[in-house]
């Protein structure tokens, strides 16, 4: 399942949910807040989600992964609100019988989440200004 939270993500707690006697492989991805983007020093990030659709679209993505990779267990959590450098913004974890499917499924899920969920991030820069990620770029290239 997918969850959206305003609290700190605890990967150790989340991975336990994927324990499965049939699983021989576990793979996870954590997205962290980085201190720069495109040459600009970043102070913190602010995430906003439209939860009803972020959750339903997220469940669809997990379902697609489970169709592609039989016996896959998958879970995801995304933060919203203000996040500081080094904090975990998104966590994806999967378990499966073998490692190849685990790596592939984890990659599929994070790649799809990033482009499909109605979630936005605003970067707050060290120099005091701020900008929505991707929007500014689209506006410039328009």
């Amino acid at each position: 399942m997918i969850e959206i939270t305003t609290s700190a993500i605890d990967p150790d707690e989340l991975r336990k949910r994927l324990f499965d006697p049939a699983a021989g492989a576990y793979c996870s991805f954590e997205g962290w807040i980085r201190n720069e983007n495109e040459g600009q020093a970043v102070l913190r990030l602010e995430y906003e989600a439209y939860e009803p659709l972020a959750l339903s679209e997220g469940e669809k993505i997990l379902g697609e992964a489970q169709q592609q990779f039989p016996h896959l267990q998958a879970h995801c959590m995304h933060r919203t609100g203000l996040l500081e450098i080094g904090e975990c913004a998104v966590w994806v974890g999967v378990s499966s019988p073998h490692r190849d499917e685990a790596f592939q499924a984890c990659r599929y899920i994070i790649d799809q989440l990033k482009v499909r969920l109605p979630i936005w991030k605003k970067e707050h820069y060290v120099d005091g200004h701020s900008g929505w990620v991707n929007c500014e770029r689209c506006a410039k290239s328009a």
Partner: protein, 80 residues
Amino acid sequence: MKTITVRYFAMFREHAGMDGESLSLDADTAADVFAATSARHGSTEPSGHCKVAINDVMADWDSPVNDGDTVLLFPPVAGG
């Protein structure tokens, strides 16, 4: 004319200065709603990078809109 409730998110909300509004529009599709609200609030974001939902279901720009619908306008997403 149709009464359409429009909801704005992230950059669109900041451009519009509001979460949403109810508009009387001569609109057949989601693209028509997007064009009308872009003109209304001076947004230059191209629709190709954006997404739209109608009544909480993801839709396409050529999806029809009906009287009473709620159209959600999503600027380019950036999760993760």
